[in-house]
Amino acid sequence: MENCFEIENLNLYYGEKQALKNLNLSIRKNCVTALIGPSGCGKSTFLRCLNRMNDLIEGCRIEGKIMIQGVDIYDPKTNVVDLRTKVGMVFQRPNPFPMSIFENVAYGPRCQGIKDRRILKEIVENSLKQAALYEEVHDRLHESAMGLSGGQQQRLCIARAIAMEPEVILMDEPTSALDPIATSKIEELIEELKKSYSIIIVTHSMQQASRVSDDTAFFLLGEIVEMDTTRMIFNQPKDKRTEDYITGRFG
């Protein structure tokens, strides 16, 4: 199976403080990879490395290699805008722009220079369908996105990421602000989306990780203690710390 990311000797520092310690891992293509671990262990930091969102943080320094399709994303020649097109991100709190549903999804493609109304309409419809939202909003595409429920807003953010035709979608606790029904819709959606995209999801819910992911990496204090298929991690973890964490006996 192909990999979408190859990470070698990744170290990350916030000023003096080291937040990621010598990470080496591969992330499989068209799979869902879950990142689990206690708060503050570096999951979000790692996720942000994958589309260089950490570049925006002052005092943040990165060593090592992150390869996508054979190219190091930290190579000076890498175009960060292109990278963020390839690697989309969905955040913990849904963050639609204060504009219409249509414009939210059309925003990215417009920025890429697509002006043809017909093509934009097609992209918007397609993205909303893939995000399993179209049915619910097709008759109010030009109403404000702020009127959608939390779960719908989050699916809209997924549609917005899909509209950029990414390779990878990063999700940082995408359901932590949602109720169980909205959560289960997002989980179903993830299952569907992995056919077309590679998905990396940070989650604090063990059950969510075991339900949605193919692979799981367990982070602790900036290190990866264990990474394996989700099946192995939740059935027979090799490291005692992993077992303690997934069985809720940690600390």
Binding site: M206, Q207, F234, Q236, E243, I246, T247, R249
Partner: protein, 213 residues
């Protein structure tokens, strides 16, 4: 997670309790084989109902743990192994009940094989005790050794065959004692199910499926 630990520990206590009941049934069965006491045999048959209810209770508790506490890894295998162990204990109890039924129908075992029948019964009880001790202590090493004890029971049963053949040849007894072999087979089967419990324990602790047959 204190709650899961507590609940699993209560779950395992229940299995221990069931095992003690099953053990007492086999002790009674050994007495009955020798004495032919039909009153006691009837009591034993009633005890079996009691043990069946234990199995149901264990299954209900297992369902609670799964539905409410979402165990994973070893915790999950404790529940799965527990359900299977309860099912084997239930079968082991059935074999004690079969012995009671036999005695009600045919009277006590023939005097010429009483000593060896007792020996088989005692071997079985020892093996059963070791298994329950291993389960209690989650002792995988012990679980691997216990099946050797089953060999002893099998050898004793072969001896029974020889004794019976010899007795028949010398016309010391008539062939009405042939069913005795069937009676003692109950202990052999009970031994097999005890070995299964060792397999469940190994699965619980190691996640590996072992087959001792």
């Amino acid at each position: 997670m204190v709650k899961l630990d507590e609940t699993l520990s209560l779950f395992q206590d229940l299995i221990q309790e069931m095992a003690r009941k099953v053990r007492s049934m086999h002790c009674l069965a050994m007495q009955i084989m020798e004495s032919g006491d039909k009153e006691k045999a009837l009591q034993l048959i009633q005890l079996d109902e009691f043990v069946n209810r234990y199995e149901e209770e264990i299954n209900d508790r297992a369902q609670d743990v799964l539905a409410l506490l979402s165990p994973v890894a070893t915790d999950l295998r404790i529940v799965i192994a527990g359900i299977k162990t309860a099912s084997d204990l239930e079968r082991i109890a059935d074999y004690a009940k079969n012995i009671a039924r036999y005695v009600i129908k045919n009277g006590p075992v023939a005097p010429c094989i009483r000593p060896i029948a007792q020996q088989i019964g005692e071997s079985f009880l020892a093996m059963f005790d070791h298994t329950i001790e291993a389960y209690q202590a989650r002792d995988v090493k012990k679980a691997f050794q216990i099946p050797e004890e089953d060999e002893v029971i099998n050898r004793l049963l072969e001896e029974v065959h020889a004794i019976l053949k010899e007795a028949l040849k010398n016309q010391k007894i008539d062939d009405s004692i042939i069913p005795t072999v069937g009676l003692l087979r109950n202990l052999e089967r009970a031994g097999d199910h005890t070995k299964n419990i060792c397999e469940h324990l190994i699965y619980q602790e190691k996640g590996q499926h072992i087959d001792f047959d």
